[in-house]
């Protein structure tokens, strides 16, 4: 009996040790991973580009990747490795990104901030707090950031704002109240155009573009377009291309052209635009009719839909959720991301000017926004 008792004791002790011994690692910043994805060109005019992965809501997984044209190397998590002391990660839902001057601006929606980095070293210069910030654009050493909310905790403060940030001092200088839940922002001449969505009130979407005079920084008028506006871009001719998302039920999504000289609706394309980007005289759009995706090009000089797809090798049909797009302004190569199921790492594709796949690489979650570095 005595011997048996000892057996039990040892075994229980062993089991206890097994269960209690530490298996946790010390926390450390998200690791940087590099891989070579194509042959680099040391003479490349554009040195490379940043890719912002949005990350899923509440996951705190927005991340910044970099593709180096001179070496062909793809680097992940460059924000975290350059700024481990700034926080645990870049933040939650990276919604927009742009380079202006020597600085890289990242709009992190659910983290209520705009990160300003040195575009070369990726070191944080400043964090600018803006609640529920959405998109960014620039003019004359000022950044303009749209945001959903004008005052926290005030039930009557349902309108959004655009904040004007000085790109030298990096502080907010002025604010202007625009429509409800403003999304995309674009500038033509001395006027800022803001696409209002009204997305928080599906019973009562917004249907206007706010026109803001940059000198006085006041909203001077609204242009009626269609419900639930989203993205907006201005071409060299002074035309705005603005998307409406419809009501997800009966009203179809469309693409509208607004002439800023008359501030009137000029043309309508029956396209359900998922994402687009403008390069020179072409607007590259990814559209969905609910059945499949189409990869169209619009000539913005003639305002016509060209009869060709910018993907020609059949890759387009394989993409689950084409999400972000950019065109290399020098080589005209097309960069397109697939967000897949949103909860898995996405894929970045590069297509040549003939629409054939050149290379692809696995990214972070929901790869979406691009910024080229010259």
């Amino acid at each position: 009996m005595k011997k048996l008792t000892h057996n039990y004791c040892y075994l229980l002790l062993a089991a206890f040790v097994l269960l209690t011994t530490s298996c946790r690692k010390d926390p450390k910043p998200d690791g940087e991973k590099t891989e070579t994805i194509f042959d680099g060109n040391i003479a490349s005019t554009i040195k490379g580009f940043y890719l912002l992965n949005e990350g899923n809501l509440n996951m705190n997984k927005a991340s910044l990747d970099y593709v180096d044209y001179t070496t062909g190397v793809y680097q992940t998590n460059v924000y975290s490795s350059a700024n481990p002391e700034a926080g645990r990660s870049l933040g939650d839902v990276g919604n927009d990104m742009a380079v202006y001057g020597s600085k890289l601006y990242i709009v992190v929606n659910n983290s209520n901030k705009v990160e300003v980095l040195n575009a070369k070293t990726r070191k944080r210069i400043k964090q600018i707090d803006i609640v529920n910030c959405r998109y960014i654009t620039f003019r004359n050493n000022k950044a303009y950031v749209s945001a959903y909310i004008s005052a926290v905790g005030d039930a009557n403060a349902g309108n959004g704002i655009v904040a004007e940030i000085d790109t030298t001092t990096l502080s907010i200088e002025r604010r202007v109240t625009v429509g409800r839940q403003p999304e995309g922002v674009a500038i033509v001449g001395n006027r800022l155009y803001v696409a209002n969505s009204g997305g928080y009130s599906p019973k009562n979407y917004e249907r206007t573009i706010s026109v803001v005079d940059l000198a006085s920084f006041t909203e001077i008028k609204r242009i009626d377009v269609a419900i639930n506006l989203n993205r907006i871009v201005a071409d060299a001719n002074g035309d705005l291309y603005v998307t409406s998302q419809g009501d997800y039920l009966n009203i179809e999504p469309k693409l509208f052209v607004i002439d800023t000289r008359t501030e009137q609706l000029k043309k309508t394309f029956e396209l359900g635009v998922r994402t687009f980007c403008l390069d020179d005289k072409y607007l590259y759009t990814v559209n969905s009719n609910g059945q499949k995706f189409e990869y169209n090009i619009i000539d913005v000089n003639t305002e016509t839909l060209l009869n060709r797809s910018f993907i020609t090798d059949g890759t387009g049909a394989k993409l689950a959720q084409p999400y972000g797009i950019a065109v290399n302004p020098v080589t005209k190569e097309i960069l397109l991301t697939d967000a897949g199921s949103y909860v898995n790492p996405g894929t970045l594709y590069c297509f040549d000017t003939a629409g054939r796949r050149k290379w692809s690489v696995t990214t972070g979650d929901i790869p979406a926004h691009f910024a080229f570095i010259f």
């Binding site: 009996m1 048996l4 008792t5 057996n7 039990y8 040892y10 075994l11 229980l12 062993a14 089991a15 206890f16 040790v17 097994l18 269960l19 011994t21 298996c23 946790r24 690692k25 926390p27 910043p29 998200d30 509440n58 996951m59 705190n60 991340s63 481990p84 002391e85 926080g87 645990r88 990660s89 870049l90 933040g91 939650d92 992190v108 659910n110 983290s111 209520n112 964090q127 707090d129 909310i149 926290v152 905790g153 005030d154 039930a155 009557n156 349902g158 409800r180 009130s201 009562n204 998302q245 997800y248 999504p253 969905s288 609910g290 499949k292 995706f293 967000a339 949103y342 909860v343 972070g364």
Partner: protein, 677 residues
Amino acid sequence: MKSGRLYVLLRAGFVVCFKPGVAFFAAMCWLCPALYGQDTASVKRLAEVQVIERTNTINITSPTPSQVLKGAALQRLNTLSVADAIRYFSGVQMKDYGGVGGLKTVNLRSLGSSQTAVFYDGLQINNAQNGQVDLSKFSMDNIGSIELYNAQKNTIFQPARGFSAGSSVYLTTKSPTFKEGSKDLYKATFKTGSFGLANSSILWQHHVSNATFSTLNAEYTHANGKYKFRYTNGVYDTIAVRNNGDINALRFEAGLKTAITDSSSWEIKGYLYDSERGLPGAIIENRFNYNQREWDRNVFLQSGYEWCGTVYSLMLKAKYANDYLRYLDPDIITTEGFSDSRYHQQEFYFSVASLLKLEKYWNVSISADYARNAMQSNIFRFVNPLRNTALVAIATQLKWSRFDLQANLLSNIISERTQTTTGKNIYKYTPTVAASWQPFNSEAFRLRGFYKSIYRIPTFNESYYTFVGSANLQPEYSRQLGVGFTFQRTRNSGILRNISIQTDIYGNKVDNKIIAVPSLNLQRWTMQNIGRVNIKGIESNLQSGWYVNDKVLINGGLSYTYQQAYDASTDAKPKQQIPYTPVHSGSALAGVLYKNYSFNYSFIYTGERYNQAANIPANYIEPWYTHDLSANWRQPVKGHEINVGAEVNNVFNQYYDVITNFPMPGRFYRLKMTFIY
């Protein structure tokens, strides 16, 4: 000692390197023959044997795997809510958003939390809106037992709903134990501690007549929900305080139970839960504070009648439930002010079950349930669905002392309509077979096995939530197969007085799993039947009772789960463990009873997990494990009793997340005082 692998010095004297699971499993198997060979030398009934509490969480003869926590064993856990107690069972994954008021749901053997049915005093708590029950709302204050069954409860005489879930949790409130000559029992409890907790409850049980007693029970919980958490990547490192975790909750229960004759009984119960709480959001970069609030009100009235004859038995049950949920989000400002969503649900439920004893060894039963579920909401374009459900189960049981076979066929008939559609009908038939067999003369060892398939009907949210729901969803289909053994030995001499072990191996498949996927149309998510999961696992439990001397009694228990739950959807990569499912998990409990004092230790371990589908470093979650200690003192005073307890939980102050970015509390304290009159 690197993660997952440890070195263990066994008594034999050599050093062995194990995965923790394998080692524990080996230890358990090694133990059985050693005990099995023991002779129960003494049949002398010693008083102390009765004192050794049967810590058993194991039901040895059940053909379906079951785990039970009741009586003193349950009290020793010192938990505030049912959710905290269920964590000690094997095969269980708790989703816990942290704090006193945080959502806590249970998922058994990776079938998904909406495949677990929760029964309160015999009737199901049904949430047609989202299919899952928040166990943090159920207080431990008046709970007498928690039973957990994989597949279903080990009886064929039960409502059809009892057959209709992938697995079931039964919560049973305490029955009174009146003192000699006393007609009333009063109990008052006060708990306080970390998170600004103030919890008080009163219980009055009255002996109305010989076979009738009434129960009144009220409980109020207040907590500010504040606790420290750590937010770090190793370089950036900060300790912050969780905000917006406050809760005020009131629970009120009234019941009457009577034995009309020796063979029939009737009971009725009314229940009210009313709460207001803050919803602490995800802790993300630059955002630690939240303003969202939630109100819940759950009311139900339920009644049951049972008549047991020698040949024929009858069970009737009825329930009306009314649930209200309000969610206020001041961060979303609509043209009508803050986003303020209200959801109402009503359920009417009626069940008839009949049991016929054909032979001494042969029973047959038929159960028929009807339920009517309706839901309304003020959210945009909500279609206010109405569901009529008819469940019919026919079952049979063949039972000899050494063999028990239970089989049933369940038919699921559902008719659903909404304001805008004439609706859809679903007809499904699913079988269950379970058996338990005692292969040797000794009653100590039994083998068991079961097969069960079940359809889970899509919830109202999955089908009709504006923009997200898909009305044409098919039910989720799951199949479970399990085999295992139970071993139990009780002795009247020696140090180890009682031991029980159960181990089961299982394989589950979930098809047509309902998951949210991005839609082709626009940047919206929709629900689709595209998920598949293949699950394989081993669960093991060990319970023991030790007698040191007349004054010192010890109880110990261990549980361990090994689980592979791979995403088998068409586009999934091979061998990817589904999110929030650890491969290894386990718990340990130990208690020492010395005179009027008891000291308890409990430990929970959850191995590494991933928070999204891809098993990559970016989605990795560290293992977590907490050690809890408590001490209790019991003193009779002039025929009454005072009970004082103190606890230190998460003793080593580990900062961890169960759900990514929803930090759990570090070390926290609780003090409990009970007076029984």
